[in-house]
């Protein structure tokens, strides 16, 4: 055991006390900080002003006026339109696009005669006018404001737009037209549009999360982000340690240190020492990230939202994923002569490791779906799948957690068995890299 410990300590020290590791450790927090601080400036929607000309053919004779009033500063219609836009943006939950549309568009209306040639008017859309672009041609249906005699349904409008136009401009035109038509209909029917709007508007309220610890305002998206955060931690830890094991094994084999070590320890001791060393490295990194995460939650007074058992499960499922994937990575490292040769074996391994990214959204949305169930019992994906479910708003029952852990342990034993055999033979095999058939022969032969 002392030899395993010594190998583990060397692996740990040789990795942790390097500039590369320290820099690598800082990358995630720095990236997150940049994401929070700089991201919104880089990727956020700039205040978008919809400005341009809209040609309108209005056989009703009602809509154009309503639209003009709504677009003119200081008119009651404009105030009402602004209130409606703000209300919609609020109901939509602050979507960036709709928020941008809460601003009043600066549309210049170009009225066309009712009998205008629509095809010729469409050509107008293609005329470039940089200072005041031609945004749309709206053709209001004759029954848009009042149904035809004997009918109850209202008509609408046709909208023609030029190619490559910003979607937000089109949405603004749609919104303005719809409001103008509704206002025209209300006025024709003798309703007070402002009153109607009051009747139809229910302000969005902040929900309150009630828990054993008390009540707090619900944090939007937390239940969706939390599984992602846990999966990201698990992924990064397993991926980092797996890569470390692969490269260090290849390095020891290629530099022929392996044979010197094998004169002092058995292959199994060497493997166990390396695994423990890299496990320590990953646990250190993971603990640091968890600490930073908890610190962030505390600073935003959100600490109470986190179920402490999740951290315990994170470590359990990390160990299962680490030992399964790590041992197989070591086996690959022992089988090949250089990093380039490892790519053939790495492709299926990478597909497995990357698959949680595919499963994140469906499992987070429905943590008890058939897909979630299958993934959480299918090693080595089970660790990622179960972690996503555990961190979701609807965690799995305890028996499923226990079963997933039991299957994970069985997978670890299987992976260790396979990897130990490949490791023992492969570490001193040089020359042509083995294919999958050769690996199977090694497993059977050792």
């Amino acid at each position: 055991m002392s030899k395993i410990w010594r190998i583990a300590v060397r692996e740990f020290v040789a990795t942790v006390f390097t500039k590369a590791f320290i820099i690598g450790l800082m990358v995630l927090p720095v990236m997150l900080a940049l994401g929070f601080l700089v991201g919104p400036r880089l990727f956020g929607d700039r205040p978008f002003a919809v400005e341009g000309q809209v040609a309108i053919v209005d056989p009703t004779g009602e809509v154009t006026g309503e639209l003009r009033d709504a677009l003119t500063d200081g008119t009651p219609a404009a105030g009402l339109a602004d209130a409606i836009r703000r209300g919609r943006a609020d109901v939509a939950g602050g979507s960036a696009i709709v928020e941008a549309l809460a601003a009043r568009p600066k549309l210049t209306l170009i009225e066309r005669s009712v009998g205008a040639d629509i095809e010729r008017e469409k050509a107008w859309l293609g005329i470039e006018e940089p200072d005041s672009p031609h945004l749309a041609l709206a053709v209001i249906h004759a029954n848009a404001v009042e149904p035809r005699p004997g009918e109850t349904t209202f008509g609408s409008y046709d909208l023609y737009v030029p190619p490559n136009q910003d979607t937000r401009a089109e949405i603004a035109v749609h919104q303005s037209l719809r409001e103008a038509i509704v206002s025209a209909r209300a006025r024709t029917q003798g309703f007070d549009r402002a009153r109607l709007n009051d009747l139809m508007t229910v302000p969005r309220v902040q929900s309150v999360t009630v828990s054993g610890d008390g009540e707090r305002n619900t944090v939007g998206g937390f239940n969706f982000i939390l599984p992602f955060a846990f999966m990201l931690l698990l992924f990064m830890s397993v991926m980092g340690s797996g890569q470390g094991l692969l490269t260090s094994t290849i390095e020891e084999k290629a530099s022929r240190v392996a044979e010197v070590l094998l004169s002092a320890v058995s292959p199994l001791q060497l493997m166990a020492g390396k695994l423990l060393g890299h496990m320590g490295i990953s646990l250190l990194a993971m603990s640091l990230y968890i600490g930073l995460g908890l610190l962030a939650l505390t600073s935003f007074s959100l600490f109470g939202l986190l179920e402490p058992m999740l951290i315990f499960y994170l470590f359990v499922f990390f160990l299962l994923a680490f030992f399964t994937i790590g041992t197989l990575m070591m086996a690959i490292g022992a089988a090949v002569n250089e990093m380039r040769e490892a790519q053939a074996f790495m492709t299926p391994m990478m597909l497995i490791i990357m698959s949680p990214w595919i499963f994140w959204t469906p499992i987070s949305r429905d943590p008890n779906s058939t897909l979630a169930l299958v993934v959480s019992f299918l090693p080595p994906l089970s660790s990622f799948g179960m972690m996503l479910r555990l961190a979701s708003s609807d965690p799995p029952p305890p028996w499923q957690i226990a079963l997933s852990i039991a299957i994970g342990i069985a997978a670890v034993v299987g992976a260790l068995w396979v990897a130990a055999k490949v490791f023992r033979i492969g570490l001193l095999m040089f020359g042509k890299p083995p294919n999958f058939a050769t690996l199977l022969r090694w497993i059977r032969a050792a």
Partner: protein, 345 residues
């Protein structure tokens, strides 16, 4: 004396047991194949404790595979093996020193840290390990390199460091695979002296080489291996006796001296001129001492000596047994003299 894992054990004290008869290494019918290639075939070998054995043969003969089998780095397909009284070297790794043919180090690691790591893996718990490392490094002629990185040392210097790593725990059995390859003559002599010193300390030594003169110079017993099969396993003295070429080499005192009287001696079967002198082949059963006495009486000589059998000649003779062509003989001979590029066996 070094403490290993908290216990003290006098160096060179061996526990004999009836099963292995006190042998440091015993192989019985050991065979190892790689796919269709038989690297070692039914190898029997016994190395007594305290022996200094040379494992010789050309590149690809199976020396390294045999050594890896002894070290339990590889495992035999069949046959039995015992090392220092154990069924496997795994059970006695702390008592074995090993210098592999393909020598590697952690390039970024400092020399002192590397040796300390290997020593501790070998179970050395010496409190003054740093001091011991410094002394050993100085013994191989390197000074103040403890804090240098492995990558900063030359190949020859690293080889010495690796030798230190092999003996740092004062092993009972020292296995050296091609220890002199790549060394300059001075370093080679230095390392040879260290090997002899380890032997004097009481260590059993097995070293492989494809360069026969090295084996002749150091070993007291030689095991020849070719294509995975043992061809010869005898003390050097016995080999010399058995393969006595029955020849005397002499150099006349005067250039152009009449050697006709030598040819007429009753012990002489033939006389051949060789570089710088003559080689006399004696008749079977002749007394070499009497022949030398009569030869010197017949011709004044500057130098006269019994021709000593060379391992490479014996090896070539055994391997080819008359089947080899002259060209094949010369190629094998050149390799055994170490004049061709060395490769893994």
């Amino acid at each position: 004396m070094i403490a290993r894992s908290g216990r003290f054990r006098p160096v060179g004290s061996y526990v004999l047991n009836a099963a292995n008869g006190g042998a440091a290494v015993r192989l019985s019918g050991v065979t190892k194949t790689f796919g269709d290639t038989t690297a070692v075939e039914a190898l029997d070998l016994t190395i007594p404790r305290g022996g200094l054995y040379g494992f010789i043969g050309p590149n690809g003969a199976g020396k390294t595979t045999s050594i890896r089998l002894i070290m339990s780095i590889l495992f035999a397909d069949s046959g039995e093996l015992s090392v220092l009284g154990h069924k496997s070297a795994l059970e006695a790794k702390d008592r074995i020193g090993y210098l592999p043919e393909e020598r590697g180090v952690y390039r970024k690691m400092k020399i002192g840290a590397y040796l300390s790591y290997i020593a501790r893996l070998k179970g050395v718990e010496d409190r003054d390990l740093a001091g011991r490392i410094r002394k050993l490094i100085e013994r191989v002629g390197l000074f103040g390199v403890e804090n240098k990185r492995c990558e900063d040392l030359s190949k020859g210097m690293l080889q010495k460091i690796q030798f230190v790593a092999a003996i740092i725990h004062e092993p009972d059995l020292l296995i050296l695979d091609e220890p002199f390859s790549g060394l300059d003559p001075v370093s080679m002599r230095q390392l040879r002296d260290l090997v002899v010193a380890e032997h004097r300390r009481g260590a059993t030594i097995l070293f492989s080489t494809h360069v026969m003169p090295q084996a002749e110079e150091i070993c007291d017993h030689v095991v020849m291996i070719h294509r995975g099969r043992k061809m010869l396993d005898d003390p050097v003295s016995a080999i010399r006796r058995r393969y006595d070429p029955r020849a005397i080499v002499f150099e006349p005192l005067q250039t152009g001296a009449d050697v006709g009287r030598v040819r007429a001696l009753p012990e002489v079967e033939s006389l051949t001129q060789v570089d710088g002198g003559y080689e006399v082949l004696l008749r079977p059963g002749s007394d070499p001492a009497g022949a030398i006495e009569r030869l010197t009486a017949a011709v004044p000589v500057a130098r006269v000596e019994l021709k000593r059998p060379r391992l490479e000649d014996i090896f070539v003779q055994i391997v080819n047994e008359g089947r080899g062509t002259t060209q094949a003989d010369e190629s094998l001979r050149a390799e055994l003299q170490g004049v061709t590029a060395a490769g893994p066996s």
